[in-house]
């Protein structure tokens, strides 16, 4: 089986982002960029399935600017076999991303597609679900365990009350949650080797997808701040303040 994994280049999760003063967005110039953390988990899961003999090939795809090649090379250095970059300088909304990945899936015919549950920039949490809808496949979102069987996959999902396990017919789309695995680091020799691995370049037009945004962002602003309050010296003072001042006890 072939596994297709999506990866996105986003602002590194350790960076404290800054909102532009004119309200047009978030400052992205000279900011450290990395692979979306949920996508690292997706790549890792695909590699583990391959190492367990349940998949033959791991193909990674990214939709983004030319520099997203770096993100794909990171996935190749982790161990993915091949990469596809669908290059566009536009901000592509989840629905258009899903349509492009659908096009890639129709060409590649994977048995399983693994997608991060959300990207940590727009926090949409949509692409995997949209992709599986467009393909007419089953979806196993927010996975904390993936067990690949014969013609089916069992996915344990993180839901509000605990865990839910579902059985999906293959091919299927799985979206990854944080506790699925701990992604590996790429070793230096593998980083060198990754430079020679195949990377195909495409454009959204190759898949007949219009990436014009459907939503209009009117402005981007700082969240209303919360000021630090006071320090209390003792439990007694704390309880007293909560009762008389805050009125919450």
């Amino acid at each position: 089986m072939k596994i297709l994994v999506t990866v996105k280049r986003v602002v590194d999760f350790n960076v404290k982002i800054r909102v532009k003063a004119d309200g047009t967005g978030v400052e992205l110039a000279n900011v450290k960029m990395s692979m979306n953390p949920f996508d690292e988990i997706s790549v890792e899961e695909a590699l583990r399935l391959k190492e367990a003999g349940k998949a033959e090939e791991v193909v990674v795809v990214s939709i983004g600017p030319a520099k997203a090649e770096e993100t794909l090379r990171t996935a190749l250095a982790m161990g993915a076999d091949r990469a596809i970059l669908v290059e566009t300088e536009d901000q592509v909304e989840p629905l258009a991303v899903a349509k492009i990945v659908k096009g890639v899936a129709e060409a590649e015919q994977p048995g399983l597609i693994i997608v991060g549950k959300q990207a940590i920039d727009d926090d949409s949490n949509q692409t995997g679900q949209m992709l599986s809808a467009l393909l007419g496949w089953a979806q196993g979102t927010f996975a904390s365990k993936v067990e690949l069987g014969d013609g089916k996959v069992n996915v344990t999902r993180e839901v509000d009350g605990g865990l839910q396990t579902v059985e999906l017919k293959l091919p299927a789309v799985v979206t990854t949650d944080l506790r699925l695995n701990e992604p590996r680091y790429a070793s230096l020799p593998n980083i060198m080797k990754a430079k020679k691995k195949p990377l195909d370049k495409k454009t959204p037009a190759d898949f007949g997808v219009d990436t014009a945004p459907r939503l209009k962002v009117l402005k981007t602003e700082e969240p209303s701040g919360r000021k630090a309050g006071i320090k209390v010296k003792s439990v007694a003072e704390l309880v007293e303040k909560l009762k008389s001042e805050a009125g919450v006890l």
């Binding site: 989840p94 809808a133 979806q139 579902v166 939503l215 630090a228 320090k231 909560l242 805050a246």
Partner: protein, 309 residues
């Protein structure tokens, strides 16, 4: 045209997330119809009919809808979509799972996790873990929206909407339910609790977490939360996690114990009315958002707090 609101339920109870999402739906404007989908959900439909502001309750009953599986649930929502220009759900694990599937089947963009209704087509939503707020306008023929319920008050009761049966769509037959491992507890749910006490990595072990945090929670009638660090270390189960990737909460009182205050955690609790931080490290970022800070060892002060309550 009217608004379709997906009821969030656990097959026996209507979640109060629905009442909060209802408040957002009412602000968008238009008659609100609530869809209750499941295997045996008439009692839940009765609960939904009592919510103030609901014009009609639609009940779709079918064995395929028993476990909130995304594929049959999305098919049923889409089969009803012709009568609505807006489809809304609370951003719970059910809403987050099914709504993008609905949006894609309708070929429209979704607006995720709105925190404010600016006008019927314009909404505010957090991006970058709540470190920026975007105002977005949608001109889609159908608006598909999930609601961050912590930002909206629950609609009250007092309504008496009519309850109407609708057909479930044919089950696409792509998935089946295997099992649930739900944590059972007498404590209030995190997302609806008035008071939450949360523990962080400073607790050091699952045993200590139970021993120190739980008695105070019991005394306060509080829900128990945890930071991602505490969950990853195995001190607390994953459904206790508060933060960007866990639950987003806004109780009247949030007590953070031994939590440093990583931005991912703050994203999940900074809308709480009153925040108390107890931490040994007076430089901990949690103190920057806390109304009341106590620089102390939580192992000393939590037993003391329990006695003082």
């Amino acid at each position: 045209m009217a608004i379709l609101l997906l009821a969030d339920h656990d097959t026996t109870h209507l979640s109060d997330q629905t009442a909060k999402a209802l408040t957002a739906a009412t602000k968008i404007g238009g008659d609100v119809h609530v869809l209750v989908a499941g295997a045996n959900v008439k009692a839940i439909a009765e609960q939904a009919a009592k919510l103030s502001g609901v014009a009609k309750v639609l009940v779709a009953e079918d064995a395929s809808l028993a476990n909130n599986l995304a594929e049959p649930l999305a098919a049923t929502i889409v089969s009803l979509a012709g009568n609505y220009d807006t489809i809304v759900a609370a951003a719970t694990s059910v809403g987050k799972n099914v709504m993008p599937r609905v949006a894609a089947l309708l070929d429209v963009a979704q607006v995720s996790e709105i925190i404010e209704v600016v006008s019927s087509d314009t909404f505010k939503r957090p991006i970058y873990a709540g470190n920026a707020i975007q105002t977005v306008q949608t001109n889609e023929p159908k608006r598909v929206i999930t609601v961050r319920t912590a930002s909206f008050a629950a609609a009250g009761e007092g309504g008496s909407a009519s309850v109407e049966t609708v057909s479930a769509a044919a089950n696409p037959g792509l998935s089946s339910h295997v099992s649930d491992a739900l944590s059972s507890s007498d404590r209030p749910e995190l997302t609806s609790a008035k008071i939450i006490i949360s523990g962080g990595r400073a607790l050091g072990s699952s045993e200590k977490f139970q021993e120190v945090i739980l008695p105070v929670a019991d005394k306060l009638g509080a829900a128990v939360g945890a930071s991602r660090a505490a969950v990853d270390a195995g001190y607390a189960p994953n459904d206790w996690q508060v933060g960007q990737t866990g639950k987003v909460v806004a109780p009247d009182l949030y007590i953070a114990c031994g939590i440093s205050g990583a931005i991912q955690h703050l994203a999940g609790m900074k809308d709480s009315k009153v925040i108390v931080a107890i931490n040994k490290d007076e430089e901990a970022p949690i103190f920057q958002v806390a109304d009341y800070g106590l620089v102390a060892d939580l192992f000393d002060v939590l037993p003391e707090l329990e006695k003082a309550l």
